[in-house]
């Protein structure tokens, strides 16, 4: 375990963007709250206030999460490639740390550590912003930001998302690591070419779309499996403001759908494929020392 702690620390030293990017986003959002227009006058009922609070906090969360996904993708493509490119892989391999430990530590950083950093950054930012809005804005909007229940739900939403996201996207992450451990150059291009070639080949020779459907489902199917997208009216809640209506899920609890996620075969088939690709990345790391 000790080696994992050092390897994770090492990733923070090498990739300062892990904490710099969420910090910058946080600072920008806080500056926006400090100097932007934060009046929202037509809040009259507790429901209106809670819905607006929930929407504002969710938008912050989503902003952090989207940036996190983009950064993690880049990190995964780079993590086994960078030290082959600058040949420092020979220095790392001169230490008594197995390639399995190295690869798993980088996977852990991408799928768990980086999301947790963004989670903490998002929480700290929203806390500060809620405080700023309370001071600057009308009492109603200020009050909208402080619902203990809402905050608790957001924490659960983050943790649920981190776990399910890591499981669902394991095959994608592991694929990126395989390319990162294997490619001599152009990791981005290589990560896209083989699936594209498979898709085109299948379409050309068999006229079917199995590969394309699998890839599309992996990239787009996370939301529908991990979250309720229910059409029944009990799931949705419409709040009327003076001239507008906002439709939101009735609560964040209602949004989570662990039952569908964990019972979906796609979840576990994907995880198995991901595990196999991780083994592949380790084998490549063992053998590929140079570009």
């Amino acid at each position: 375990m000790n080696n994992y702690a050092w390897l994770i620390k090492r990733e923070f030293w090498e990739n300062r963007a892990i904490w710099v990017i969420p910090s910058v986003i946080g600072v920008l959002l806080i500056l926006g709250a400090l100097f932007g227009r934060v009046q929202f006058t037509n809040l009259h009922t507790p429901q209106q206030s809670e819905v607006v609070g929930g929407v504002v906090l969710s938008i912050f969360g989503i902003a952090f999460f989207v940036v996190m996904s983009i950064y993690s993708t880049w990190y995964l493509l780079d993590c086994l490639y960078a030290d082959r490119k600058d040949r420092s892989v020979l220095f790392w391999k001169s230490l008594p740390i197995s390639d399995t430990t190295t690869v798993l530590s980088k996977l852990l950083v991408a799928m768990i550590v980086i999301p947790l950093v963004y989670f903490v950054a998002a929480d700290a930012t929203t806390l500060l912003i809620a405080f700023i809005i309370s001071v600057r804005a009308s009492a109603a909007l200020g009050g909208a930001m402080w619902h203990a229940d809402l905050w608790l739900q957001l924490q659960i939403l983050w943790l649920y998302t981190i776990i399910t996201y890591a499981i669902w996207f394991l095959p994608v992450a592991a694929w990126l690591m395989v390319i990162s451990a294997w490619a001599k150059r152009a990791v981005m291009l290589w990560s896209i070419l083989p699936p594209l070639a498979l898709y085109l080949g299948e379409r050309l020779f068999f006229g079917t779309h199995f590969v394309a459907n699998q890839i599309a489902d992996r990239l787009l199917g996370y939301g529908p499996r991990a979250f309720h997208t229910g059409t029944d009216s009990s799931f949705w809640m419409t709040t009327t403001f003076d001239n507008d209506q906002i439709t939101t899920p009735s609560s964040i609890w209602a949004l989570l759908d662990p039952g569908t996620f964990f019972s979906s075969p796609q979840t576990w088939i994907g995880a198995a494929v991901g595990a196999a690709l991780v083994v592949g990345a380790i084998q490549l790391r063992l053998r590929r020392t140079e570009i």
Partner: protein
């Protein structure tokens, strides 16, 4: 006691190119072995195999382990410096020390700090800010602070000036080396290391062409500076290499009957570098 390194039919192929062709060699504890060969001879492939950095065919045991399968544990007892500066550029010197101290059970921080104190390098510097020579000094300080049983050095002093190179080799022999350790070293600067080697291995085209101790060279090889009137008689004794320099002709003989050769001219034991040139230049010129 089993040998520290034992290779049987060690073979490494890259596609159709055979970098190591059934090489056999044994390295005993307590020796300083020079692995010497021209570029592309298979030196790096041999070192990579010994360090577990590459898969290979044949049998290889280093410190009783199979290197490729067991690299991580092998690195508890073995350490190496590869041919060029390979320290990660983003790493700070103090981070490097912390990291190695954290993951290496045999790393002695005080020793590394002592070695660095003799240089101009401070802990807050990043590797990328250091000159090539300084990078090498950091790497050497980290490596020599590890109480390893096997130290592998692949062109360790590349980029160092002559003072630093001399200092490095002095420290290696005086402070680092003892009878429990073994050093395997490759370098192009054969002259620089030949005085500290106890054994030499010549490698050419994937084959080990010479494997002996430095003392054995004297009993196995002789170089004779032959005077002009004896040249034909001396050539009849089948020298394996002939070299003309400054108007003198030097003939190299294997397993010399020393008295018989002395009559052709002044006889001496060839230096490692001369023997290397003689063995690898291939035949009488």
């Amino acid at each position: 006691m089993p040998a520290l390194i034992e290779a049987r039919d060690l073979t490494k192929k890259y596609g159709s190119f055979v970098a190591l062709d059934r090489a056999n060699f044994t390295i005993q504890t307590g020796r300083i072995v020079g692995l010497i060969g021209p570029n592309g001879a298979g030196k790096t492939s041999a070192l990579r195999a010994i360090l577990g950095l590459t898969a290979y065919e044949g049998q290889l045991h280093v410190l009783g382990r199979e290197p490729f399968r067991d690299r991580a544990r092998l690195m508890n007892d073995a350490c190496f410096i590869a041919d060029v500066a390979v320290m990660p550029s983003w790493l700070r010197v103090d981070q490097a020390i912390d990291f190695v101290a954290g993951v290496h059970p045999r790393f002695r921080r005080d020793r590394a700090l002592g070695l660095l104190a003799k240089t101009q390098i401070t802990g807050s510097r990043r590797i990328r800010e250091l000159s090539k020579g300084m990078k090498t000094q950091v790497h050497l300080a980290l490596t020599m602070a590890i109480d390893a049983r096997l130290l592998v050095l692949d062109e360790p002093t590349l980029g160092l000036d002559i003072l630093a190179r001399r200092g490095f080799y002095d420290a290696l022999v005086d402070d680092y080396m003892d009878e429990s350790r073994t050093i395997l070293i490759t370098t192009h600067q054969v002259e620089e290391v030949e005085n500290l080697l106890t054994d030499v291995m010549f490698i050419d085209k994937g084959h080990i062409v010479l494997d002996c101790s430095v003392e054995e060279i004297a009993t196995r090889y002789a170089a004779v500076t032959v005077t002009a009137d004896h040249i034909d008689a001396a050539r009849a004794e089948k020298p394996f290499y002939e070299r003309r320099t400054l108007g003198k002709t030097i003939l190299y003989f294997e397993r010399p009957g020393s008295e018989a050769l002395a009559r052709f001219g002044e006889m001496h034991t060839p230096s490692v570098s001369d023997l290397f040139v003689a063995k690898l230049s291939g035949g009488v010129q």
